[in-house]
Structures are given as C-alpha cells and as structure tokens.
C-alpha cells in the first residue's frame, strides 16, 4: 500500500488545520502583533512601502532579523553586507528547527511540508509547538504547526501594518512596553514548555551568560551563550536526570 495516489493527502487533516489556525489567535499571536508595531514604524521611516513590507515580513518571519534587514537597508549598506548581517542574526533558528522537526513529523509527512515548516520556524512557533504539540497526535502535528504558523504570521502582518500607519505617533512608554512584551513572553513561554529540570537550568545559564558574552563578543554572543549554557545543562541531565529515569 505504498502507492502514491492512496497515500497522497494523508498528511492533511482539515479539523486539525482549523484548530491550529484558531489556537494561533492566543497570547502568542497578540504578543507578535504588539511587538511588530515597532517594526512597521521602522520600515515606514526607512522609506519601504506597505506591500514590500508585507512581502518582507512573510519571507523573513523572524522579527529581530527583519529589524536588522530594515536598518541595513535604511543605512544604504551593500547587498552582501546586509545579507551577512541578517544571516548572522538568524543562526539561532538552526537549533530551533533541528529540535522541533523530529517531534512533529512521521514517515508520511511530505518533504515539501517540512521545507515550508522550516521556513515557518521562528521563536514563537518553536515555543508554541513545544507547548501545544504534545496534545496533538503525531501524524497531525505537521499540519497543526503549519496552520498555526500561518495564523501567527497573519497576526504579525496586521501588527506591522498598524505600526506602518501609526509610525511615530505612539507614545514613548507604550512603544517601549510593546518592545518589552517579547522578552517577557519568550522567557515565560520557555518555562511553560520546560519538561525536565535541565530545561530550567539551560534558561538560567543562558540568561546569566548572555550579557558578559555580549560584552566580550558582540557578534556571536547568542550562539556562544547557547552552546555553553545548553551544554552545561545537558551535562546536568546526563549526570543527574537520566540516571534517575533509569533507577525509577
């Protein structure tokens, strides 16, 4: 029964797709919408039109990298320099894709969906996948994540458009609060996605190592803090948690 025609379409589950879309309109969607307002304002000031901004939002789908892209474009930087700076800011997406994909696919998941989901993987999707995917059967997770991401990206596009039209009319404190929502959401969502003690340890170590490493090596700070903090937490897992699992 490995005929392509019979198997074709088994990845799609209409109800799961709708559920994913519906669940995107939650905290994560609101946070994205709010935090993207500043990006819209930035693009407006850089002289980028609404349509290119929306296309850019869809094809970057990573707010911090998009901010760098707009800033580089506004400064008149060359294409190669821009691509390098943006790329450097996006290294963090690699471990997110690597850790998420194996938890949401099975042997029937088509390759093209994984290629699309890889594009849809950003911090928000990675966190929401960890928080929500365990409640979804494995064979339906890919479509769930795909439609949840589409919902989230729509919220982001709404926020970007609002920001574009409001531009610099937002009071300073409100605009600061809109920026501050993102780190709060990231931190708490990581706690809520934590499964083992090592998860909490990795979060604590990353937070503690981040600022001093930023001071020493501002370009690669996040990756280095991630590797050191994550590996130490993994050492804790190997030494203490894994042993306990076996003993229990």
């Amino acid at each position: 029964m490995r005929g392509g025609i019979i198997m074709a379409g088994t990845w799609f589950h209409g109800q799961t797709a709708l559920l994913g879309l519906k669940n995107s309109f939650g905290v994560a969607g609101l946070v994205l919408c709010a935090s993207s307002i500043g990006v819209g304002a930035l693009a407006h000031d850089a002289g980028i039109g609404v349509l290119p901004l929306l296309i850019m939002t869809f094809f970057t789908w990573a707010l911090p990298s998009q901010v760098i892209l707009i800033a580089m474009m506004a400064s008149g930087a060359g294409l190669i320099a821009t691509a390098l700076a943006v790329s450097l800011s996006a290294v963090r997406l690699m471990p997110m894709v690597t850790s998420m994909i194996p938890t949401i696919r099975n042997e029937d998941t088509p390759r093209w969906i994984l290629l699309v989901i890889a594009h849809m993987t950003a911090a928000t999707v990675w966190l929401e996948a960890r928080r929500q995917a365990p409640t979804i059967p494995l064979e339906k997770r890919a479509v769930y994540i795909l439609f949840m991401s589409l919902g989230l990206i729509s919220m982001l596009m709404v926020g970007v458009m609002v920001g574009f039209h409001l531009a610099s009319q937002v009071p300073v404190l409100i605009s600061a609060a809109l920026i501050f929502i993102t780190p709060i959401y990231f931190l708490v969502a990581m706690f809520s996605a934590a499964q083992i003690k090592a998860d909490y340890i990795s979060i604590g170590l990353g937070f503690a190592f981040g600022p001093p490493i930023t001071y020493l090596l501002p370009e690669l700070d996040l990756m280095i803090a991630g590797l050191i903090g994550g590996s130490l937490a993994y050492g804790f897992f190997l030494l203490f948690e894994k042993g306990k699992e076996k003993a229990a």
Binding site: V27, L93, T98, G210, G226
Partner: protein, 119 residues
C-alpha cells in the same frame, strides 16, 4: 541611501537575498540536521537545551542592552517587571497570558511612577 521607491529590483533583491535567503540558509541547515535525528534521540535534548539557553541570552540582551525606545526605561524596572512576570506564572496557575499581563502592567506602572516623581 538606496532609493527603494523608484527601484523595485534593488528593493526586492534586498528582501529576497538579504532577507529570505540569508535567513532560510540556517533553517534549511537545521532541517538537514533534523533528518538524522529520531524523535527519541538524546541529542535532541542537547539541541533543545542549546536553543533554550540561546533564547534566554537573547532575553537578557534585550533587558540589559535594550533596543529602540526601550532604552528610555530603567534597567531596575525591566528586571522587576520580568521577575513579577515569572512569579505571576508560577503562583497564579501557570498561565502564560496572566504572566505577561503581570509583567507588562508592573513595567508600565513603575515607569509612570518614576517619570511622575522626576518631572
């Protein structure tokens, strides 16, 4: 400065090469590594912990080296608000929404209080 309004070719080459390709490169590489890992693979835990620490470092960077208008606020207020958010999460039923509300309202309240007393 590039004049993007009159030159769509330049504009879209920045969007697709400087944006999409530059970012998708890492996503694709992540997918290539994921192909070698099973759902119960232990390396997957390591990768997840690295991603956790990386995100936490990003949070710390936003708190300690704030971008944009966040720069106009006090570090102590940002730290207190973050702490209140975490407390709100763990003591008010582990709800993400409640934690975010706790943190952001603390942040705005503290900022307003301080701005008022200074000016």
């Amino acid at each position: 400065m590039n004049n993007f309004a009159s030159d769509p070719l330049t504009l879209y080459s920045y969007i697709f090469v400087g944006g999409f390709v530059a970012i998708y490169f890492w996503r694709f590489l992540g997918l290539v590594f994921a192909d070698r890992l099973a759902i119960d693979s232990e390396i997957l835990i390591w990768v997840r912990l690295v991603a956790n620490a990386l995100m936490a470092a990003l949070v710390a960077r936003i708190v300690f080296l704030p971008p944009g208008t966040l720069e106009t606020t006090l570090l102590s207020n940002r730290l207190i608000a973050l702490f209140v958010g975490i407390l709100g999460y763990f003591f008010l039923g582990r709800k993400l929404f409640i934690a975010v509300i706790c943190a952001i309202s603390t942040f705005i309240a503290l900022e307003m209080l301080i701005k008022k007393s200074l000016f």
